[in-house]
Symmetry: C2
Subunit: 247 residues, 2 copies
């Protein structure tokens, strides 16, 4: 009990590790850190507020889902003026798909903040996306729509939303990256090694080097996935150059 | 052709009838009236902008749907702190149901602004909800999220969103209204008459009088519906009194 109390205390003050970790993820200061505490509280703890209302991430998940829906809708509307209603609906579903939200949550390693009385191995893969949505909901509640939009741009749209990719025009970032390297006579190397750590499932890590300098890292449950993920990150790092030089 | 051109012209200036009619519905000034023109343009006209992109309400409908979803989600989240994710999801679906959005669009008589080469009898009932959504999308595009929220509060949440009703606790506004009148020894009268006008389906109108003064009017395809609608309007007009005096 002492340890849970300790965690709880440090999660509701504006100077604890939790505050700084959240600030880093958001890119701005949380105002009311207790909202983020709720976003990372699993129902298994049966926490309630003074009025007896359950405090866990599920309500915030509902809110975050709605905010993601509207921010992504507005982005697509402006970004693709030629796309009709059916196209916009389809693109949005891809961006806010369970699979994609799980990837976002996993990449930010949000699960490490989760307070739960159930061990993390017992959660299904959707836990990552669920707490990502709850985090978005918490941002809306704490800082309003503008900040929520800012966060979604930084963490969803900028790094992940690539219309060409979504339309199926880019099949593999790895081959695109290799094509670019070869065209520019640059040396590249995908350095893959096993890196399971404390995970229950085997994991692989990749260091992607360009002319002997590490430009991207990634980790995933298969070699192929880890390489593709690292290539994607490298692609976004050099996006302007790559697009210019490959077209 | 001359008449369409005339309508189009008066719809893209800030001093025409269209501008003032929209301003009245919104409760604030439109900035770019041409966006609202698009919200009331049916695809049958095949209008395009200078770049050849189709100009009709369908893309705005997609945008408006997303904005309604997030504004209603945030409202329910704050309004019902004890409601869990399932409850919030269910309540939101009721508020943004096709049927409800059609009622909202119909009550504002939005269809009178619709430019179309198809006659209005050929549209299904969903046209009302569709252009209501498009109007919400236009407001977002023209004035941003805050104004969009303001409009949804004024036109959806304030007059229509009644948690008790949505939860099924109020079955009939008519019986509630009658109960209140009898308790307060007030005379009431539902004055129903046929009022089909140019509609293809028979319509009824109701004037609801309280002590010989008309306090609400409504129109619907059956006597019962029209009475219930008028009673609902009367209920919202005297909501505070009724709630206080009936509890």
């Amino acid at each position: 009990m002492a340890s849970i109390k300790h965690i709880f205390h440090s999660r509701t003050t504006n100077d604890g590790d939790f505050f700084y970790a959240i600030k880093k993820i958001l890119g701005f200061k949380p105002k009311d850190i207790s909202i983020y505490n709720e976003a990372f509280t699993h129902r298994s703890l049966h926490e309630t507020n003074k009025k007896g209302v359950p405090q866990n991430y599920e309500r915030l998940e509902f809110l975050g889902d709605a905010m993601l829906g509207s921010v992504i809708a507005a982005h697509l509307f402006n970004k693709v003026p030629t796309g009709d209603e059916g196209y916009l609906t389809k693109m949005r579903s891809k961006i806010v798909s369970r699979e994609h939200l799980n990837e976002l949550g996993r990449d930010l390693n949000l699960i490490k903040f989760l307070k739960s009385s159930v061990s993390s191995e017992q959660f299904g893969g959707n836990i990552h996306g669920n707490i990502f949505e709850a985090l978005v909901g918490a941002i809306y509640l704490d800082r309003g729509y503008k900040y929520c939009e800012k966060f979604i741009y930084k963490r969803v749209i900028k790094p992940y939303v690539d219309i060409e990719r979504l339309e199926g025009k880019i099949i593999s970032y790895k081959s695109l990256f290799i094509e670019w390297c070869q065209k520019n006579k640059q040396k590249f190397n995908f350095n893959v090694y096993e890196d399971t750590g404390k995970d229950e499932v085997k994991h692989f890590a990749v260091k992607l080097k360009l002319n002997n300098e590490t430009i991207a890292k990634a980790r995933a449950t298969s070699k192929k996935k880890a390489e593709e993920r690292a290539a994607k990150r490298a692609y976004y790092k050099f996006q302007e150059k790559i697009e210019k030089e490959l077209n």
